[in-house]
Amino acid sequence: MKKVSPFSPGARILVQALMIVLVVASLLPLYNVISASFKSIDEFPANPIGLPQVVVGDNYEYAAFAGKLLQFTVNSVLFVPGAVLLYLVVCIAAGYAFGKMRFALRLPLFLLVLFLSIFPQLLLATQVFKLISLMHLTNTGWGAILTWVAYFAPFGTYIMTTYFADMPYELVEAARIDGAGPVKILTRIMAPLAKPMTATIAIIGFQSMWNELPFSLLILQTQEQRTLTVGIAMMRGEFGLRVPILSAALVIAMVVPMAMFFIFQRQITLGVTAGAVKG
């Protein structure tokens, strides 16, 4: 709490009121999904917005098993962390090269990476799909993993580059005088020192890949291989699927991102600001 404030007591109440309106408006759609997920199919049409009169678990049972949400969760939990590990290796190696090493093409290659970091998936999807079929990786976790890493690595590399660039060069020089080669300098000295930012980009990468739709939709076409995000997107289009069941599926899909938020709130906050605010 800051000592000084430009607000009169009346203005303070107005500001609080505005914040409460925003928070309620933001939570209302979420409340609605959670409450609908516990209503029976028969109760929902008569009681679309109130709390459930009788709490039932049927919608969850149906969504998890018949709707395969459990399978989709397992797929996401297997594919996404695997992809994050590969992403970290690629981004740390490239970020260190750009941030702390000297070579002729440093600036042009770095600008190219920045330039390539924003193109939408749909611009690349046709050829990526062809490439993945050529490698016989359609409907496999590896197909999705390689594509996600390639697509999200430019941004992670940019973040790691700025972090390594701000570290003192003397660390590299001292290690070199001790006779360490470039691989040893990176793996034994610089990468361990970059742990805080590595944790941050791991979270950014996790969220981006967990929520990725266009590539996953094209690469993981069989129901057995779908991620949660693909599964939810496909369920929405299913004809005749009842709202309480779709709501239960949505609640299941929220569990992991919400758990990540409670555990890694600090890294998530840092991740938002890492892209552009320095310091």
């Binding site: 709490m1 800051k2 000084v4 430009p6 607000f7 203005a11 925003l22 933001s26 209302l28 759609p29 979420l30 609605n32 999904v33 679309p48 290796v89 490239a94 090269a97 090493m101 000297r102 070579f103 002729a104 440093r106 920045l114 330039f115 390539l116 924003i118 193109f119 939408p120 749909l122 611009l123 690349l124 999807a125 046709t126 050829q127 490439l131 390689l146 390639a150 430019p154 060069y169 470039p182 969220q207 967990w210 929520n211 739709l213 266009p214 995000t229 939810i232 997107a233 929405r236 709501s247 949505l250 899909a253 929220m254 991102p257 938020f261 998530i268 600001t273 892209g275 552009a276 605010v277």
Partner: protein, 291 residues
Amino acid sequence: MRHRGLETDGVAPYLFLTPLFVLLVLFILYPVGMNFYSSFTEWKGYGPQKWIGFDNYINMVQDQAFWASIINTGLFILYIPVGTVFTLVVAALLREGIRGWQTYRAILYIPNLLGYVVMGVIFSIYLRDDGALNALIKWVLGSPVHFLIDPFLAVNSIGFILVVWLHLGFGIIYFLAAMNGIDKAIYEAALIDGAGFWKTFFSVTVPSIRFAVEFFIVFNFIEVFARMFSFIYTLTQGGPGYSTFTLEYGIFDQGFQKFHVGYAGAWSTVLFVFCAIISVVQIRLMHRRDA
């Protein structure tokens, strides 16, 4: 990084960059190039590719869906200044340390956490004629508002929800971090001089975080041109009609639903040009800040 003399690190940096660049060439550079080539061909995405010159481009400028996409994108851009000012004001209010600001910040971030697919499906339930929001509206107005059925309301719902509402939580964290870097003494001096909240907002807060504001605007342009597909796919599927089409959605529709991959390539060229401009603006902004 300043270069020390003419000494370089030899081949080691190129080895460290190899994994990244193998992936970039295969998954980004080559696809962009091949799209450009296919835009001059008739192609289903498999089988033979027939060279047809500029026909795809000629068809594109006569396609109603293409112009609907351009106009919708222009409309979404109009929401960017609205969202930026709104987010800045909310962040500046929270900066004053009102009670519970950390809780507000966390709750408003939840939609960002859940991603566009989950949020798109949630809003597809919430905004229906028989959905929860309309249950409340019917109670007040007597009749529902056709958010997803009326073309004008559908496109504006997407513009408002995606550009203004869903970026609020992200923007608050982002602007609060930037505002944290402003010297507190300036605020104390402004208060002693009798400057109120709005005067301080316009003459201290916003000018002090100019770079953050500019980055936020560029971020929003990236979102509008390159990150809206998942939300549109789950909320309106481009409809009703072409009323919520964007360039991204049109490429999906032509390339992956109608298998006019060559024709989708022409749309891709247009989208590429817009994205390339935004990318260059962003790089210049980074360069100016780091200089």
